[in-house]
Chain length 199, copies 2
DNA sequence: ACTTGACTTGACCGATCGGTCAAATATAAT
DNA sequence: ATTATATTTGACCGATCGGTCAAGTCAAGT
């Protein structure tokens, strides 16, 4: 009787779903195991601790974001700056979908965990810092291309890409705090207009 | 033997300090009582639940922000848009102070709780939503004055003030995720340059 | 002197926390 | 068929969770 789906993967998926929709501390190992249909002993066979599980969830979620959202949003079939708008649009549509399914705006998985755990768990903080750095790199690359074709000029690419990521995260947070996705639709278009001049 | 300081206030202060520097879920009622030098029974004499305590902490923290940070940042001794820069500067200095004291960038108290609890506790979510609305009103008022004296023209004041607040929150979150205050110094100046045009 | 009500104390509740472990079972290699 | 390894099971651990409660202390009002 081979497992219908991989046990380890089911734990990973359940943890992502539960922690994303609630919080790290509010979701216990027991709840994750119940949701995954797995006993606690099996959980600790695959993951040495809740923290390690969370690190694995962070990696897996980032890979999915990268392969699905980022690849699609930043594809070079449209001008660079338009890709930023598309990134916002796709994020908006994802949150709208979740809202329809669950009744809640859940925000950004990385932003949520960064906010909750950055002061408490250094390994997790470092992983999220790395992921944010990767996301920023995606934006930075778009800005470089935009400069190369003259869509944008004379900006501090490093600071501007960071500012755009910050703005994105802030909009996600406000949308979550209002349990309302529409402000994403209103505010995301301004993301591509942020500029920080070179020092 | 009258209490040196008010018990209720000591609970409030301890809760704010502990929850702000860690998280809502990570700080138990027992830890708050220990820090405040109060027994659990006394705690529940003053506050019916941990949630109600948290609502009271939100109110008290907002009042302090309003009376100290906002009053100072938004004082009309300088041009409107310069006040936004001052708001960023004062926030940066506060976080730098906390970092020096504790070794940690703790971000925005309201943003932290919004991120952790918005999907889990509706009364708390609503309180934070109201506080964000008040903060946005402060920015909105600055923008109105800026328009009145011609410092700014032709913008959607409602959306722009919301965008500036989002940007502020996002910068605070990134600073926390990097445990580094300097990005606040780099990114906050761009807050006053965000514009969303009228539809 | 007596009562009232605010406040404090410390013991206690069932539930859940993250994590452990020995034993059972399934799988694959030889 | 036997061995070795991977996986699963369910009982169990001490600690902590938010919250309750009866009893006691204390100051103020009458």
């Amino acid at each position: 009787m081979e497992p219908v789906v991989d046990t380890q993967q089911r734990i990973l998926d359940s943890a992502r779903e539960l922690i994303y929709s609630r919080s790290y501390a509010d979701v216990g190992v027991a709840a994750i195991c119940d949701h995954a249909g797995v006993k606690k002993g099996s959980f600790y066979h695959f993951f040495p601790s809740k923290r390690d599980l969370t690190l694995a969830v962070l990696d897996s979620h980032y890979l999915e974001i990268k392969d699905h959202l980022l690849k699609q949003a930043f594809a070079n079939d449209i001008p660079p700056m338009a890709r930023l708008a598309r990134f916002g649009q796709l994020s908006y549509e994802f949150q709208k979908q979740v809202l329809n399914d669950t009744g809640r705006v859940i925000g950004c998985f990385f932003g949520n965990l960064a906010s909750e755990l950055s002061t408490q768990d250094e390994p997790i903080r470092l992983r999220i810092e790395q992921i944010f750095s990767n996301l920023q790199s995606g934006i930075r690359q778009v800005l470089r291309e935009a400069i190369a074709i003259g869509e944008v000029q004379d900006i501090d690419v490093e600071a501007t890409s960071q500012a755009m990521l910050a703005y994105f995260e802030g909009v996600m947070l406000l949308a979550k705090s209002q349990n309302n996705v529409e402000i994403m639709g209103q505010l995301f278009p301004a993301m591509a207009q942020i500029r920080i001049s070179p020092r």
